[in-house]
């Protein structure tokens, strides 16, 4: 499958150059802005890690037009996204949604940070307990020795 995708990808060229074409742009600027925002999060399925907003592949253009058609038809942003997912699966979303398969992914940064912070907190309590406010006995003695020498 991956090789097939690659073959298609190579056939279509490398997908260089920004994508949205003038004839796609909606006349209503508010709708167009929403279309751009949605497009930036939708994967061009025949490209590697490009959004349909960035790709000039034919399929990306079809999807861009599709997104705009749905918006003009009065769909909400979520409805458009759901429409795409129903057709192409979760793979089409560059930002995975939060569900059973992705909760590990989404919670990972926070979990890592919290775990690190907990370990540090635990260690620093141990360290703080062992750092006396003043000099240790040995240090005081060493200091006294030096002072007495002078």
């Amino acid at each position: 499958m991956r090789n097939l995708l690659l073959a298609i990808f190579l056939l279509l060229g490398t997908g260089v150059a920004g994508a949205v074409l003038p004839d796609e742009v909606l006349s209503d600027p508010a709708l167009e802005t929403r279309a751009r925002e949605i497009s930036a999060g939708v994967r061009c399925l025949v490209c590697q890690n490009q959004s349909i907003d960035d790709s000039e592949a034919t399929l990306a253009r079809d999807l861009r037009i599709l997104v705009r058609e749905r918006l003009v038809a009065g769909d909400s942003d979520n409805q458009v996204v759901q429409f795409l997912v129903d057709r192409y699966g979760e793979f089409v979303l560059l930002e995975p949604r939060f569900y059973t398969r992705t909760w590990i992914l989404w919670s990972a940064p926070l979990v890592m940070f919290a775990a690190g912070a907990l370990i540090l907190g635990w260690r620093s309590r141990r360290i703080t307990a062992s750092v006396p406010a003043g000099l240790t006995e040995d240090e005081q003695k060493a200091l006294d020795d030096i002072l007495h020498e002078g």
């Binding site: 260089v16 150059a17 742009v25 979303l93 398969r101 992705t102 360290i127």
Partner: protein, 660 residues
């Protein structure tokens, strides 16, 4: 004939690597000085042979010897000479050979200039370097021989992928590899320390400059790749969170953490175990980066090798080195004595916090990059993890870190004074807030986040400069004394200031190019004029032009400001005839306020053309800022040499280039 000599030299290099990986370590174990010393000769020999092999590869490329498979696949007689040369590493086999050349180069540097290293540490570290060389030379010879012949000999080559025929992408891999491979030094020293079961400040003093060098190369390499993407891919983006970009960004994050933790270890003999672990992890991420890019597991624009056998081989190398290193770590790390106690609020504490944030960031990028691969392997379900995910998770990790940066260098070692530091930094905080307010106001309530972003950039730059002013007692002492103090400041302080200010400059570029970008997508007839962000852009027309191995349609655009011509831009659509592949060449003019970026699209049929025009305010600061960071590294590095030389000044005079 040259190809066979190159092949043979690679084999000889492997022989040297085998010796380097075994005898010195045996010598260190037995306490045999002569065996330990042999590491240096083997390291230098290995370097000579592997670079000779690489020179042979370049030679067959320059001669366009299409009887060599690799040359036929990636070159063409009509290709400009410079790209014939750079094409030798613009492919899988050649780039792996370059990888080993750089690895051997670092090994040779230790061998030549590592006089002040303890003999046993040097022998073990070079031995570990030898192991890495063995693995990769064996990989090259077994699965990726760049010298394989082809029969019958084709008349001409298949040319290099056109998007790689670009000077900054030609320099990009060597820089990146110097970064990746440079971290192998930290790794080898870490393993050597674990083998010996002992580690001290001298270890950190040795590892830090190597890490710093690797970090500088990696920073420059990533920056160059981003710049290339900006002007070559043709829509003015500069970072895409592409898995291949992430592959180089993870070692950078870990390496940045290592740089800071090694500092603690050098000055205060604390964080030993963590620093060792970080050294192992940083190089592991470099190996992972090599694996992701080289195995074709990602199949992205960059991955020009798709071959399962190679993938499995590199995976095995990775498993052995990472698994082995971590096992050794688990076994031996308890032997390392912890030292240097410190209170949570202190310079050490600040650096630990820096490590916590950077490690989280590296971990986030790692999980985001690997998650879709792992999920697909385990469940068969395909999901995408793209830019929006990373922006939402990486951003919030970085912002608090950046807010804390100015505090770090102002804190005292061992026990800091948070309240006092905060009070001192009040001036900078006020400056940052006023700037943010002014930005907000002058853009008529423009994006709040962007205004705060500018404020954060000012906080970083101002904080860095303020630290120096504070150290030299600016305004608190006579000017003459401040001047004298400035002269007496260690170079590393200047380096820290420069690098930290560099982050602020990068941030300023990112924020303004993201928030205040103008984009116009339209069709233009020849002779038509359009005004974008104060530039009157006239489309003069399109004319065909012939390059050495491509043909192109060049659009002529004249840019005027107040009637005066300020730039002529020639964006083009190229077609590389051998590969039958089109590329887009953007027309870019950098003004002080930002870049004007023009892309020529397809003709519409009625004589007009699709044209995209972008105004990217201050975007150049992104790359200028990264080079300021690199400069900071260089300044800091120059300090290291001086400081280490102090107790041995006579030696340094006799030997003016110790490997610091």
């Amino acid at each position: 004939m040259i190809a066979e000599i190159g092949h043979f030299a690679t084999l000889l290099a492997l022989a040297f690597a085998l010796m380097q990986g075994s005898l010195p370590i045996w010598g260190a174990y037995k306490g045999d000085t002569r065996l330990m010393e042999s590491a240096r000769a083997f390291a230098i020999g290995q370097f000579l042979f592997v670079s000779f092999a690489f020179a042979c590869l370049v030679a067959v490329y320059v001669r366009s010897d299409f009887s060599v498979l690799n040359v036929w696949q990636n070159s063409h007689s009509a290709k400009p000479l410079i790209f014939k040369i750079t094409g030798s590493w613009g492919n899988h086999e050649g780039s792996m050979l370059l990888w080993v050349v750089i690895l051997a180069f670092f090994g040779a540097l230790v061998a030549l200039f590592g006089n002040n290293l303890p003999a046993r540490l040097r022998a073990n570290a070079l031995g570990v370097q030898g192991w890495i060389s063995i693995a990769f030379l064996f990989f090259i010879l077994a699965t990726s021989n760049p010298f394989a012949r082809l029969s019958p000999v084709p008349f001409d080559g298949q040319d290099l992928n056109p998007i790689l025929q670009d000077i900054s992408l030609a320099i990009h891999p060597p820089l990146l590899y110097a970064g990746y491979v440079g971290f192998s030094m930290a790794f080898s020293f870490a393993i050597a320390a674990l083998i010996e079961g002992k580690i001290d400040a001298a270890w950190a003093r040795w590892v830090r400059p190597w890490t710093l060098i690797a970090w500088m190369f990696l920073t420059a390499g990533i920056s160059m790749g981003s710049w290339w993407a900006y002007y070559e891919l043709g829509w003015g983006g500069w970072w895409f969170w592409d898995p291949v970009e992430n592959a180089s960004f993870m070692p950078w994050l870990a390496g940045t953490a290592l740089l800071h933790s090694a500092l603690v270890m050098e000055r205060r003999a604390a964080l030993k175990v963590w620093t060792i672990l970080l050294a192992i992890l940083t190089f592991s991420l470099s190996l992972l980066g090599t694996f992701l890019v080289r195995s074709g597991v990602l199949t992205s624009v960059h991955a020009f090798a798709v071959d399962a056998e190679r993938g499995v081989f590199i995976l095995a190398i990775m498993a052995v080195f990472i698994g082995g290193a971590l096992a050794l770590f688990a076994w031996r790390a308890p032997l390392l004595r912890q030292g240097g106690l410190f209170a949570p609020v202190s310079r050490e504490g600040a650096l630990v916090l820096n490590n916590l944030f950077l490690a989280t960031a590296a971990g986030t990028v790692l999980i985001g990059t690997l998650y879709p691969l792992v999920l697909e392997a385990l469940t068969g379900e395909k999901i995408s993890v793209g830019a929006p995910f990373f922006n939402k998770t990486f951003g919030p990790t970085m912002i608090p870190l950046l807010m804390l940066v100015p505090f770090g260098p102002m804190m005292a070692w061992k026990r800091g004074d948070l309240l006092g530091t905060s009070q001192r930094l009040m001036v900078v905080a006020a400056l940052a807030l006023v700037t943010a307010g002014a930005v907000y106001w002058s853009f008529n309530g423009g994006p709040v986040l962007a205004a705060l972003g500018v404020g954060l950039a000012v906080w970083l730059i101002g904080g860095a400069i303020f630290e120096i002013l504070w150290r030299v007692k600016f305004m608190r002492a006579p000017v003459a004394e401040s001047w004298r103090r400035a002269g007496g400041l260690p170079r590393s302080s200047w380096g820290t200031m420069t690098a930290h200010a560099g982050i602020g400059v990068v941030l300023l570029g990112i924020v303004s190019a993201t928030a205040w970008r103008t984009e116009v997508i339209t069709t233009m007839n020849p002779g038509e004029t359009l005004t974008v962000a104060g530039n009157d852009i006239t489309f003069e027309g399109v004319s065909p032009r012939q390059g050495p191995n491509y043909s192109e349609d060049v659009g002529q655009f004249t840019v005027r400001r107040d009637g005066l011509v300020v730039a002529r831009l020639e964006p083009a659509k190229r077609f590389y005839s051998v590969r039958r592949q089109p590329t887009t060449e953007a027309g870019i003019k950098s003004f002080i306020g930002g870049d004007l970026y023009v892309v020529l699209g397809d003709p519409t049929g009625d004589g007009s053309y699709v044209v995209r025009i972008y105004d990217n305010p201050l975007v150049t600061l992104i790359w200028i800022g990264t080079y300021i960071m690199v400069l900071g590294g260089a300044v800091s590095l120059s300090d290291r040499r001086f400081r280490i030389g102090v107790p041995r000044r006579r030696r340094v005079v006799a030997n003016p280039a110790p490997a610091e």
